[in-house]
């Protein structure tokens, strides 16, 4: 529900400002990566493995090469540089050579004059596979044959774990993890594989520059790290590969890893023609990483009056075939496992494993979503065991400044957990609607043919938190360049990826605020004219881009003051407070902090569940979010509403289903995301306690709603049904008790 009356398109920090890209987007004129064309362009297509685990015996491209319109058919033999790449560890082949490790792994590439010719030629490539045993059960992965030779993630300062297929094993020991409480509750919780399901499938255009280099126009989240992965595999210097941001149709973590960048560039350099690659929806589902599925064993020990004494959790994450960002997801899952609560003793163990399941990596919430679901279910169980109001129990244990996290880090920034909980709890809940009523407002909608006899209503509550910015010693930075012109105008260069979240607006608001002028232009996002902005992820982009633009603007004004010159051009790199790694044996901080800042969200949900049909309707959501300071309240509300929708989807409908490693629902027919009929009104309250180390005090806002929403929705469903509902997405069978 909108609470903001917005009109200006030019504004300063704190104003609700309309999007600059709004008019071109509503007119259909905004150029997304799939809309690009170039003279002489060919279409690329990727042949992918039909097996989750197999040895490649032979690849025969001879027939494909003879087909009409075909300009190139490439295999691993045509990769001129490094044969493997990866976001953090180069464990993934550019094209499979002797072995495929997941269903959909790229094996060969085709360039043709028409996309259908490319698809047909790919189908004519004869690949002889010899199937290998599939590692599909994450609980057994560490007892199976290793999927990778050597241990790709070993030697990076992680805890040494010699078991096969361990991507990362970490342990956080805090206080006395053996200490008993007066009351103990325990449970085992599962999270299925969620997909980012951004609307714009992976796509882009690779254009050879005629001098051996290539320009890649692509929808991505981190231009410079794309370049740093692509160039070595092409055998090129980084400067020879220029990544330019094309219009991005959503991201949510799913564009952190490479998609078509390398494959398009290989075909472009081979054919000396521009290459366009556009995945269809099925290829998108199999072609990008997902949210890690998880199993979590939890035990919460407390005093009889409700104070947490000891939290013990074991977390298992299925990383799939390649590492992607699994090591960081495992760390986040462990670091925030307890939730935003004070506890003096804890034992948290997290393991991410390799399997032949779909590769998993970054998705909005990044490890904290899974553990929030488990930990908040535990808090509800504890409240029931102690006969304490669940909100009171959370307030009693709420984390605040000066408290210590299980990693030993002392909370020294903004951390208004109790205030956020109180604000969410104070939003009035709508009265129950009488029955019978229009079936569009029954669980299951118009498909519900009852008069609502089985409908039960429940109210749930949950609190979640996670880190803002990168962690554990990652040297995180963002560059911005500001050019002041003699006519009083300014231009800003920053490679921060606009993925729909609105960072373009943030950059302009900051520049206008700092320079005190309205005539500011943001130049194209590219690796060619400015340094790295880091990734549009980890709820970091607003903080980091605002910091970099602020620094560069102030430096530009100083430079003009100092030199008196009319034209000034300066670039500055912003860094947040430094972090250090966690101790590999104890999971304790080795410096002041492993995480930069924290952001919290509390959510109250009303759900109606038809307990006879197993159908759920989320009726209403009220939420309060700790945002530091709102830079653009209108855009911020949009982040809360959209992030909430993704958490709701995970709670009741979204799951990538696999059978022996094969994805069986790679379409929007079978992988459901919330529609207009599924989303209730979301009332949001912003809690503004500025973060001292952040530019303008602003925290990132994209992830907290997604972290908390699934937990809050299922809390309401438990209240409605009385069922334990320990797995998300909740399936109708679990509601009706089949």
């Amino acid at each position: 529900m909108s609470t903001v009356a917005a009109t200006p398109t030019v504004g300063r920090v704190g104003d609700s400002v309309l999007r600059l890209d709004g008019p071109p987007k509503v007119k259909g004129e905004f150029a997304y990566s799939s809309d690009l064309q170039a003279a002489g362009m060919l279409w690329g297509h990727t042949l992918r493995s039909p097996y989750p685990h197999a040895r490649i015996v032979e690849i025969d491209i001879s027939q494909a090469l003879t087909m009409a319109g075909i300009h190139a058919v490439l295999t691993h033999e045509d990769v001129p540089g490094a044969r493997t790449y990866g976001l953090e560890f180069p464990d993934q082949p550019v094209l499979a050579s002797d072995r495929v490790r997941y269903y959909g792994e790229p094996v060969a590439l085709v360039a043709a004059e028409h996309p259908e010719q490319a698809r047909r030629a790919a189908a004519a490539i004869r690949v002889v596979y010899e199937e290998l045993p599939v590692v599909s059960d994450m609980e057994r992965a560490t007892e199976m044959e290793p999927l990778h030779e050597g241990r790709p993630t070993a030697g990076h300062g992680y805890r040494d774990d010699p078991r096969p297929n361990v991507v990362r094993h970490m342990v956080i020991r805090h206080g006395d993890p053996e200490i008993e409480g007066e009351v103990t509750v325990s449970g085992v919780y599962d999270v299925g594989i969620q997909d980012q399901a951004f609307l714009g499938p992976e796509s882009g255009l690779a254009v050879p520059d005629g001098e051996g280099g290539v320009d890649i126009y692509v929808a991505t989240q981190w231009l410079h790290v794309d370049r740093d992965q692509v160039a070595p595999c092409l055998g090129l210097e980084p400067e020879q590969v220029r990544i330019h941001l094309a219009g991005v149709g959503g991201a949510f973590g799913g564009r952190e890893d490479l998609s078509m960048q390398l494959h398009g560039a290989l075909l472009a350099l081979h054919t000396s023609r521009p290459i366009k690659i556009v995945y269809n929806r099925e290829e998108s589902f199999v072609g990008h990483i997902h949210r890690h599925p998880a199993r979590m064993w939890c035990e919460h020990r407390a005093t009889r009056d409700g104070r947490l004494v000891n939290v013990r959790m074991r977390i298992l994450l299925d990383g799939g075939a390649y590492a992607s960002s699994s090591t960081a997801v495992a760390s986040n899952a462990a670091s925030f496992a307890v939730g935003p609560y004070r506890v003096d003793n804890a034992l948290i163990e997290a393991t991410a494993v390799y399997t032949n399941n779909p590769p998993c990596g970054a998705m909005r919430g990044f490890g904290a979503v899974q553990t929030c679901f488990a930990a908040e279910a535990q808090m509800d169980l504890l409240a029931a065991a102690l006969d304490i109001d669940p909100i009171e129990l959370r307030l009693l244990n709420a984390l605040g400044p000066g408290d210590t996290l299980p990693t030993g880090q002392v909370v020294d920034g903004s951390c208004p957990v109790a205030e956020t909980i109180r604000a969410a709890a104070a939003i009035p809940i709508p009265a129950a609607e009488a029955l019978p009523r229009d079936p569009i407002r029954l669980p299951g909608g118009a498909g519900n043919t009852t008069r609502g006899e089985g409908v039960q209503r429940g109210v749930g509550f949950a609190v979640g938190f996670k880190n803002i910015c990168y962690s554990e010693g990652f040297d995180d930075s963002c560059a911005a360049r500001v050019v002041l012109h003699a006519d009083g105008s300014a231009e800003v260069h920053c490679a921060a990826a606009e993925v729909g979240q609105g960072v373009v607006g943030v950059i302009l608001q900051v520049a206008r605020t700092e320079l005190g002028i309205d005539a500011v232009t943001l130049m194209p996002h590219t690796t060619a004219t400015v340094g790295s902005a880091g990734s549009a992820s980890a709820s970091r982009m607003t903080w980091m881009a605002a910091g970099a633009v602020q620094d560069a603007c102030r430096a530009a004004l100083e430079e003009r003051e100092r030199t008196g010159s009319a034209e000034v051009d300066v670039e500055r790199v912003h860094r947040h407070p430094r972090t250090t790694p966690l101790d590999p044996e104890t999971g304790q901080i080795t410096g002041e902090r492993a995480h930069v800042a924290l952001a919290c969200s509390a959510m109250r949900v009303v759900a109606e569940v038809d307990v006879e049909l197993g159908l759920t309707r989320v009726v209403w959501i009220g939420t309060a979010q700790d945002v530091g300071r709102a830079i653009n309240p209108l855009a911020l509300e949009g982040q809360i509403e959209g992030g909430t929708a993704q958490g709701l989807g995970l709670a009741v409908m979204e799951e990538i289903q696999t059978r022996d490693g094969r994805i069986t629902n790679a379409s929007f027919t079978d992988y459901l995301i919330p529609t207009t009929l599924d989303m209730p009104p979301v009332e949001s309250v912003l809690i503004e306690v500025p973060e001292p180390s952040a530019p303008y005090g602003a925290k990132g806002v994209g992830e907290p709603p997604t972290v908390v929403a699934a937990a809050a929705v299922v809390s309401a469903m438990r209240a409605a049904t009385g069922k334990p509902l320990t797995r998300i997405p909740v399936r109708p069978d679990e509601i009706v008790g089949l």
Partner: protein, 151 residues
């Protein structure tokens, strides 16, 4: 084969392969990429256009089927820089984030308000339930439709 159709009031002629969808013909043959290719199987509504005034997913219509017919795409709604009232409402309400679903939603909203100028909230939800959006959670899209209806 040759296809002749009227798009946004303009008569257009193009060569096409018989297997190409109307969406492909619009995007790749007629230089009208406003209609989006998000699922290409009629599930997401991103490619919605009006075919002889009827709302269709252009990915489910063959280009050849549009031969001799009239098509209105998202590119045909504004009058130069003057946005259609539905487009204006989407901008003003903050209903656009990544915007990939927006062209389809705008066309679907135009179609809704054509047949029902003052839809109830339930009617809005039902009418737009074939248009997926992954960014907004729909709240500001509902605001936009209500604003457009009121203007």
């Amino acid at each position: 084969m040759k296809i002749t159709l009227t798009v946004n009031g303009e008569r257009r002629e193009t060569e096409a392969w018989g297997g190409e969808s109307l969406l492909y013909v619009l995007r790749e043959r007629l230089d009208l990429p406003g209609s989006k290719n998000a699922c290409e199987q009629g599930e997401c509504g991103s490619c919605s256009v009006l075919l002889d005034g009827t709302l269709v997913c252009s990915c489910l219509v063959l280009g050849a089927q549009a031969d001799g017919h009239e098509v209105t795409t998202v590119e045909g709604l504004a009058d130069g820089d003057r946005l259609h009232k539905v487009q204006e409402a989407y901008v003003q309400a903050g209903a656009v984030q990544c915007g990939f679903c927006t062209p389809g939603l705008v066309v679907a909203t135009v179609d809704l308000l054509e047949s029902n100028p003052s839809p109830s909230d339930d009617e809005i939800r039902e009418a737009l339930s074939g248009n997926l959006c992954r960014c907004t959670g729909y709240a500001k899209i509902f605001d936009a439709v209500r604003q457009a209806a009121a203007s």
